[in-house]
């Protein structure tokens, strides 16, 4: 007991690998938030008037709102006047025209992260849009994609090149006043990715965004908008890291997905923001609003997430199933170790007829980790024949962590079928001893058992992400059986 506990403790205590800082000359605006700051951000990005108005409306709405308090997470109040809302690498001021123009320091950072833009893009066939603090620094493969009519670029660029699309879809899934953090994001978002797949086009490669918070005291507020037009298909990957800092940093992103008739969007996230140290000092507050809208019949939106970082996670990737026969999926692995807290889950809103949703959530809690699954399945009166299947499993490592499950089920249509299964388990002494008796180190044993627990979710991830996710779990876990 004591021995395996201590090995688990060791495993859990492994250090964060991406905690380096890149020294770049930054263009930073003063701390604090006001209408002037919103105007300044908009001006820096040379935005059209309508977008400024949109931001200001969001800001004014935000002023009337209070942060949500219902989540099962605890942290001191955030001083929104003590934060910087825009930071960009200086050399990027005029925007890079190609990879050659990107600051070599920045490229080195991506190499450290294991994503050399050139090779990775070419070898893996992945088009990467890398967001560094507030601006999108380089978008690879743009030309190849544009041949088939796909638009994939930074959000700020899209505002200028495809204003009609932005105007049509921005805020159409997550309205400016949706929630406190979404409103804040709408007011001050600095960049992000935009993607449009025209009717009938199957995106020939995985699209990818890599987010990194580098500058100190900076909030990151990126905005992602993906529109798959009728019959289109796209698979989108998102990865995140941040330097190690003693103070907390806020990440309040908004992701909006729109799937038209028979379109499919698969959105995968491997989130490895800095989780803070063992005592819970520092780390990212990841307060993110992600929502997909199945607007057409037979549309399908699938969220797959692996959440291992962040001091606090508040995140509910959701699907609104408006189109008849549309499908929503949510596959999640969330890990909380040390003092990490996560309140995460999904919302499946069934509106169309014969809509179907699947939720598979795997929560792993270790150390003093606090984890809550919070899921809503709502079947509207109109959703004749709707079906939902929810499976919600928690794995506890050690005896100081917690797992909670808060399922909300609202059904207004009698023909609907809603299933909910939940389990809580721990890695047993017997499993651990069995693996060690076969020659595996305790670290490898825990990692193998946890990966087995997460298998149903990992198999939904694109290959290269699945490998990364497995490694990440191994690293993030080092040390926990009880």
């Amino acid at each position: 007991m004591s021995q395996s506990q201590s090995t688990i403790d060791e495993i859990i205590s492994k250090d964060y690998e991406h905690g380096f800082e890149t020294l770049l000359e930054m263009d930073v605006i003063p701390r604090g938030l006001s209408e002037d700051v919103v105007r300044l951000i908009s001006a820096k990005k040379n935005e059209p008037q309508w977008l400024l108005e949109w931001r200001l409306a969001a800001y004014r709405h935000w002023l009337t709102m209070t942060p949500p308090e219902w989540a099962n997470v605890h942290y001191p109040a955030i001083d929104y006047q003590d934060m910087i809302y825009y930071a960009a690498p200086k050399s990027q001021k005029d925007g890079p025209k190609s990879l050659d123009e990107v600051d070599p320091e920045l490229l080195k950072t991506y190499e450290k992260l294991g994503i050399p833009l050139h090779e990775r893009a070419i070898l893996a066939g992945v088009a990467v849009d890398a967001v560094f603090d507030s601006v999108s620094v380089a978008t690879t493969f743009k030309d190849k994609l544009s041949e088939v009519g796909i638009v994939f670029c930074s959000f700020s660029e899209a505002v200028h090149t495809h204003p009609e699309l932005i105007k049509q879809y921005l805020g159409s899934v997550v309205p400016v006043g949706d929630n406190f953090y979404a409103a804040l994001n709408s007011a001050v978002f600095s960049d992000g990715s935009f993607c449009y797949i025209p009717p009938g086009v199957r995106c020939p490669m995985e699209l990818s965004t890599y987010f990194r918070i580098n500058a100190k005291n900076t909030g990151q507020f990126e905005r992602t908008l993906i529109v798959a037009d009728a019959g289109a298909y796209v698979s989108y990957l998102e990865g995140c890291t941040a330097p190690m800092r003693d103070e907390n940093q806020l990440h309040a992103a908004v992701v909006e997905l729109v799937a038209m008739e028979k379109a499919q969007i698969k959105y995968s996230t491997v989130q490895n923001w800095y989780p803070g140290d063992k005592e819970g000092k520092g780390g990212i507050y990841n307060f993110v609003t992600k929502r997909g809208d199945c607007r057409g019949d037979y549309a399908k939106i699938s969220w797959t997430q692996v959440e291992t970082g962040s001091a606090i996670t508040w995140k509910y990737p959701s699907v609104v199933l408006k189109g008849d026969h549309s499908v929503g999926e949510f596959y999640s692995v969330a890990l909380t170790n040390h003092r990490q807290q996560a309140d995460t889950g999904t919302k499946m809103i069934h509106i169309g007829r014969n809509t179907k949703s699947t939720v598979v959530s795997k929560g792993i809690s270790a150390g003093f980790g606090q984890q809550s699954y919070r899921g809503l399945v709502r079947v509207a009166k109109s959703a004749v024949g709707a079906r939902n299947y929810t499976q919600c499993d928690s794995l506890l490592l050690g005896d100081k962590c917690q797992a909670h499950t808060f399922p909300y089920i609202e059904v207004k249509q009698p023909s609907a079928t809603v299933e909910h299964e939940a389990s809580t388990s721990r890695i047993s002494e017997d499993q651990l001893f069995f693996c060690r008796q076969r020659g595996l180190s305790p670290e490898d044993a825990v990692s193998m058992i946890v990966n087995g627990f997460c298998k149903e979710v990992f198999k939904e991830l694109p290959m290269e992400f699945a490998v990364e996710a497995q490694k990440l779990l191994g690293v993030s876990l080092e040390g926990s059986v009880g």
Partner: protein, 258 residues
């Protein structure tokens, strides 16, 4: 190869082993028999390095090393294998993945190259056939939904893949029908070699019809009370454990066999 000297151990303050002495040489098969609660499985578990036992005295030397000082995984890599009485299930982890991890952990430890995917696959398929198992079980989660017999076959499959130096079989025969018992015995017998030793922990003589031991020891109340050749097992089968343990309750200090 293995020298157990005056080994005493307790669980939660309760003495279970009260002075075990046993020497096992390479090439030998020893059967440890005894009634329920005599400490047979505890002995196997302690040799394999399971936590939760307090060693209160004595020593165990394995190939010249202090076995009790080694973590369980090092013992395994050094060739100590325990076939479990109750093999655990590991959901989501395929059998073949576990086998490969185990085989390569042992190879790395011996300074050998890891087997590549192709070599490993052809080796494992050969062994699966030998154990008269379905190849599909390689891709099922470890022991999940396996019948009792399948679990035991799976243990022996792991054993013949890992080619241990010292194999400990804990009640491997329990819960097996006669066909499964034959296959399991075939697997065990295939490993008999002058370099290898085995300790069979069993309640019944039945297993020994198929695997002939060189020595039989009777364990009772934490001590070996009698040792002999294969004929001792047959005698036990005829007369029952009371034949030996009846005395023992009255005079616990009597009859340490070795």
């Amino acid at each position: 190869m293995l020298h157990i000297k005056d080994l005493t151990a307790e669980v939660d303050g309760k003495p279970i082993l009260k002075g075990i002495n046993l020497t096992v040489n390479a090439g030998e098969i020893h059967a440890v028999m005894g009634p329920n609660g005599s400490g047979k499985s505890t002995l196997a578990s302690i040799l394999a390095g399971r936590d939760g036992y307090e060693i209160t005295g004595g020593s165990v030397m394995y190939q010249g090393k202090d076995l009790l000082d080694m973590p369980a995984e090092d013992r395994a890599r050094d060739g100590v294998f325990l076939a479990f009485q109750y093999p655990v299930e590991i959901p989501g982890v395929s059998n073949i993945y576990l086998l490969k991890a185990a085989v390569n952990a042992r190879r790395r430890h011996r300074g050998m190259q890891e087997l590549d995917a192709m070599d490993f696959l052809s080796l494992v398929k050969e062994k699966v056939r030998f154990m008269e198992m379905d190849e599909k079980m390689l891709y099922r989660a470890v022991n999940e939904g396996f019948s009792g017999g399948e679990k035991k076959r799976n243990e022996i499959l792991q054993m013949i893949m890992l080619e241990p130096t010292l194999a400990l079989l804990d009640e491997t025969d329990s819960g097996l029908d006669i066909d499964a018992l034959k296959v399991v015995s075939k697997g065990v017998n295939s490993l008999r070699s002058p370099e290898r030793a085995m300790i069979l922990v069993t309640h019944y003589q039945r297993l020994l019809d198929y695997i002939t031991p060189d020595y039989v020891h009777v364990l009772s109340a934490g001590r070996i009370i009698k040792s002999g050749g294969p004929e001792l097992a047959l005698e036990l089968e005829r007369q029952g454990y009371a034949w030996l343990t009846g005395d023992q309750k009255d005079a616990p200090s009597k009859g340490v066999a070795q």
